[in-house]
């Protein structure tokens, strides 16, 4: 069954067409990665899918049109992490992560014992317990990224959308973050949609890849089919070799012989 269905989405800003008739579907439990050059429209697509940006065309969660959902219903179905999340000055890690529980708390109410328990579980899972009272703006890039991820996880939704969750991270933390998403996905049977720039990691972790270029889907399918050296070279304007190391796909940029 489809968990999220996107039909004929078109977004334009002024005369520029950002997304041109994009349709796709995400089956329940899938890990889908959206890749493509800078400015291809990945973030735009993700925010449309999260119901945060209006478009012509429609987005369904299950069989409900996302436009008919209240923000609260939407936030109980899907959690979304933007590419550049806001970092309010002076807020504590615990206070920040707890904001993810907002969809379950009445507008004028405060959080209950259950919310605090979930907060503590997630903080522990992400090894953030010791940061609970630190302010968000005092953290390193990687620690901050883990806090953003924690906020998404306390939202406890079956569907999560992450916009470049690994960009600020070093090699080890990139892997740890993706391993963690993978682990939690197996535990909670999550559906994950993620945009990424690292094609090797996208190839290794996702079930399926969509390659976006200039607002259109250039290719979609299993990682080994989409990550084709000729296609990637053309789209990215780069010199690329695709190799297999053990069973993992690896994309390697190469230096031109003429330079």
């Amino acid at each position: 069954m489809n968990h999220c269905l996107v039909q004929n989405v078109r977004v334009s800003a002024g005369r520029k067409v950002l997304l041109d008739d994009v349709s796709l579907s995400v089956p329940r439990g899938e890990w889908l990665s959206i890749v493509g050059p800078n400015g291809a429209g990945k973030s735009t697509l993700l925010s449309v899918m999260a119901g945060l940006r209006s478009s012509s065309g429609s987005v369904y969660l299950g069989d409900i049109d996302i436009a008919d959902m209240t923000p609260r219903q939407r936030a109980q179905h899907l959690a979304y992490l933007p590419q550049h999340p806001e970092v309010p000055p002076g807020i504590s890690v615990g206070g920040y992560v707890l904001i993810g529980r907002n969809p379950y708390i009445p507008l004028l109410g405060t959080e209950g014992q259950r919310d605090i328990e979930i907060l503590n579980e997630v903080l522990e899972q992400l090894s953030l317990q010791d940061f609970r009272d630190r302010t968000l703006d005092s953290l390193s890039g990687g620690e901050l990224q883990r806090c953003h991820l924690a906020r998404v996880l306390v939202q406890d939704t079956p569907l999560i959308f992450l916009d470049e969750p690994t960009t600020a991270l070093d090699l080890g933390h990139q892997q740890q973050t993706l391993d963690l998403v993978c682990e939690i996905r197996n535990q909670r049977e999550l559906t994950v949609v993620m945009t990424m720039h690292d094609l090797s990691l996208a190839g290794q972790y996702s079930d399926r890849i969509i390659l976006l270029s200039e607002g259109q889907i250039a290719s979609e399918g299993k990682p080994e089919d989409v990550l084709d050296p000729d296609r990637l070279s053309g789209l990215y304007g780069a010199r690329i070799k695709v190799m297999k190391v053990d069973s993992d796909i690896v994309i390697i940029p190469t230096r031109s012989q003429e330079l």
Binding site: P71, N102, Q129
Partner: protein
């Protein structure tokens, strides 16, 4: 896991500590108590204490005060102190709320034109002779209130017709325009009626010296309603710190929160200025001190602003009526005198996380 870690893990983050509330409450009582005890009438201080205890239920205690002194306490000092506390608390929490919804540390309660509107209303009432600032049928507070609310509503419509749905700063700019426009009219009327210029100025500089129980009863319902709405929104205002898009992605409707909090803060501000005139800077000083001392979460800043705002204004009013006694310094002059240097200090340290 150690026992300490377990108990700290069960805490709600950003919660308001009881100790901080106690400090705030103590500051209030101290400021108000001192203010009640000091004054030109030179009433015996222990007698005042006995007089207060006498009014408690089930306790009889003879204070030995003359009827005149009793009426100074009950009809002059007490309503004035309570009014000051009410106005201070309302202005401070309104300022904190405006700062939260606009995500701008320099927002103040007069931001959306409330001050200019109230000024115009009061000026009209004074020059037409329909109010002299005293008595139950005084039109000054009524017209000041209508002027303030009218100005805020005007700002709101103007702001939304010019794009405030997309960016809240359009609302701020509309506020600047409305304030300039209304101040122009007010100045014109004032120039045409030089004979009442003293009265207009005394109103504009803020005053609590004419306060009686009438004003307290006039202000209290509006102030309590406004403060209640703002305090109940304190958690939602913390979510709003993520900005509209992310707030909406965690299920909030930012426009609704913004509208109801602005409405409450404007109502509180309008009601306050209508009885006390324009008391500047309380809405900026108090929330910023609270943030520096106790943290930036609105769950902490809003309730503490009420307490410290009350204490601050009660204290400033005490200074105003004792420093050059028997004359009085207008309260707005003192708040601005303390506020302006403080404002600069805040600007200098504003890297230190103030919103």
């Amino acid at each position: 896991m150690s026992k300490a870690a377990t108990s700290s893990g069960l805490r709600t983050p950003e919660r308001l500590r009881a100790s901080v509330i106690l400090v705030g409450a103590f500051a209030c009582i101290l400021a108000m108590g001192t203010s009640l005890a000091i004054g030109p009438a030179g009433i015996n201080k222990t007698a005042i204490l006995r007089e207060l205890i006498d009014r408690l239920p089930f306790i009889e205690m003879e204070s030995g005060l003359s009827p005149i002194h009793k009426s100074v306490i009950w009809e002059v000092r007490l309503p004035r102190i309570l009014l000051g506390g009410l106005v201070g608390g309302t202005l401070a929490v309104s300022g904190a709320s405006y700062q939260a919804v606009f995500r701008n540390p320099l927002a103040d309660p007069y931001l959306l034109g409330a001050a200019a509107g109230a000024g115009l209303g009061a000026t009209v009432a004074i020059v037409t002779g329909s109010g002299d600032g005293i008595g139950a049928f005084d039109l000054v507070p009524v017209l000041a209130f209508l002027g303030a609310m009218g100005a805020v509503i005007m700002t709101y419509f103007l702001g939304y017709s010019s794009g405030a749905r997309r960016s809240p700063s359009a609302l701020l700019l509309a506020g600047v325009a409305v304030a300039a426009f209304l101040t122009a009219i007010q100045t014109f009327i004032q120039q045409q009626n030089v004979e009442s210029i003293r009265q207009v100025y005394s109103w504009i500089l803020g005053r609590l010296n004419t306060s009686s129980w009438t004003e307290v009863k006039l202000l209290a319902p509006y102030a309590f309603l406004a403060i209640l709405v703002m305090l109940l929104s304190r958690r939602a205002l913390d979510v709003m710190r993520l900005g509209d898009t992310e707030a909406s992605s965690v299920g909030l409707r930012p426009q609704i929160v913004r509208f109801s909090v602005i409405a409450a803060a404007s109502l509180g501000t309008a009601a306050s200025v209508s009885v006390s005139g324009l008391i500047a800077f309380v809405g900026i000083i108090v929330p910023h001190v609270v943030r520096l001392l106790a943290g930036t979460s609105n769950r902490i800043v809003l309730p503490l602003s009420v307490l410290f705002g009350s204490a601050f204004l009660a204290f400033v009013d005490l200074l105003g009526r004792t420093l050059v006694s028997p004359a009085e310094i207008p309260i707005g002059v003192i708040t601005a005198f303390c506020g302006a240097p403080f404002f600069v200090l805040v600007l200098r340290t504003s890297q230190k996380a103030l919103t």
